[in-house]
Symmetry: none
């Protein structure tokens, strides 16, 4: 048996996933994880270098996908391929749906339970991307002062992502999830102009 037993490794990751999800990274102890994996503390360290590596094991598949998406999306911009915001919406929605199908809990951990780790900034990097698109594609054109538009873009980007995460957290059924994500998009981005009409 050349390779470390996959079963144990998976047990650890499964236990860690559950515990990181429930308690967050900091409050889940290696002892917890070991006990939930049915092994001893020392043995965890045969499979993972340290606690953060366990987190990495849990979260990195999703992390990589998101980072790839961000990189890809930014390369489009640099290449001058100015997609419409509509396109961007469709693009990011389909990405998120796809990732969620495979890695629902992992995604939630990555975005909610990695305080104090190197994954902490993933959320803000994704937000940064969305924020730029919102600013360029939507708010810049509205009759807002520029700094206000910028600020608002940030708030909306965060809020949109937060909503996405909430929906994912609450929806285990993928059909329903898809539906809700589309609704979310409509809710967040349709008819922006008229919302801010002063005569309302």
């Amino acid at each position: 048996m050349q390779v470390l037993k996959d079963e144990v490794r998976n047990n650890i990751l499964t236990a860690a996933k559950k515990l990181f999800y429930q308690k967050g990274y900091n409050n889940a102890s290696i002892r917890d994880i070991a006990k939930n994996s049915g092994i001893t503390v020392g043995n965890v360290y045969r499979y993972f270098e340290n606690k953060e590596s366990v987190l990495e094991g849990v979260v990195s598949p999703v992390y990589e996908k998101i980072m790839d998406y961000i990189a890809l999306s930014e390369s489009y911009i640099k290449a001058g391929e100015n997609k419409s915001f509509e396109d961007f919406r469709n693009e990011i929605n389909s990405y998120i749906l796809q990732i969620t199908k495979e890695f629902r809990l992992e995604l939630l951990i990555l975005f909610k339970g990695t305080q104090g780790t190197r994954f902490e900034k993933t959320r803000s990097e994704l937000i940064s991307l969305i924020e730029n698109r919102i600013y360029e594609g939507l708010f810049k054109r509205l009759s807002m002062e520029d700094d206000e538009a910028a600020f608002f873009s940030k708030i909306v980007a965060r809020s949109f992502l937060e909503s996405l995460i909430m929906v994912i957290a609450e929806t285990e059924d993928n059909r329903k999830l898809k539906k809700m994500i589309y609704r979310l998009n409509d809710f967040y981005f349709n008819h922006l102009n008229s919302r801010f009409d002063p005569e309302d």
Copy 2:
């Protein structure tokens, strides 16, 4: 000698407020708080039963106000005084603004830094209220299936509150804050009907 006691108590609370805000509840230690209060560790425990009590001391004024508001708001409903959603918006906005003026940091701590404590659910209680109002005042009337409307109400309520918190966290100037909160309301609640028109 109430006076002296109150001064020490306030010193503790002031230090705790600062530290909970900066580091979060879990990462702020009693030692930190004691040192920043100019008193000793042991003495903290004369004023507060344990660490969570300190949090309570910091957060309860704001907590009470919010709970009072929730209770009041719900009593209106029970009394059959059906205000319009417009009224509710104005009402909650003004409440939030008012509370923020006095208790900005406390509010942020209550909503962002109480993971693992009994205040964790404050947010969800407030959300629950908003959720009901959104459901009754807005989504029920839209052409959505009922459970979807309910679910969506929750998501939007959370998201709206989240946005409020973000704006409060980022805005120290009260004039600007007021402006942004109104914008937020417009963004979240104006022209809901047309957002979900299928022909879009």
Copy 3:
């Protein structure tokens, strides 16, 4: 009581001194030290930041003295005050004797039990000083090839210091120690020329 209780601090240092001396730094555990101090593990950390700080507490008085001596001695050289080797012998002997009177165990720990710590190189720094003096004052003048003289200077310097340490380790009586150190000097440095005469 403004200052941490000196008695406990001293108990820790005394226990640590004993254990570092007996087992060396690495094999003496904080748990050991705590038990021998009559306190708990956690309390050690009220008095010392970490394990190396405990070592520092034990060893730094002697460390400082030796570093001061080295610095002083080197400043003489830079100033061109070329003392005879005879003078150097007297100087270093009296220094060592003086330090040993106050800090016998500490000196032994510093030179024998600090592997892997920042004090590890103290011995080699002192050796370096002695080595230079031996080379300049003694071996350079002998009919040896230069690199051999240099090499030999190093060996003798180390060996001399080692002997000093041994004598100190075995001799608790200061009168006897003094006598033995003088003998050691005679043994090491008198009549060097004739020792290497080929006709012997």
Copy 4:
């Protein structure tokens, strides 16, 4: 199948030798040794009872030789064959040279890296022998008080051995080593009488 076993055993010993020399006994782990031997951890324990046994495997050839030499040398004494110190010098030098040719690293490990093991005292046993010879052959005849002569004999014996070890550690070339060892002998033992003359 003795052959195969021997090969593995030798691989372990070779790896252990290298690692004990580089890191010292305590800091070289069984995992390290196994990896460097190209076998597995568990298998090490088929060839050696425990970690100390591995050390024994590495060090015992040299250990035996030294013990044999000590026994032989002592049997001469008991038989009343009083050799001169000169003879003893030649004898021990040639022994050491011979051993070093075969077992340089092992010798260095035995004398430098066995702290906390049962080999710790090998050095002192050899020292004891040298010490006796020095006492009988040299210091007894000097105008020293007897206990002083005894004590000094011990110190010089240790120091001489220490110097030998240093020279061996620093000198890989056997020709040079031989030369340095002769120099060392001259340095340590020639003209002892005149060194301690009071008129110096």
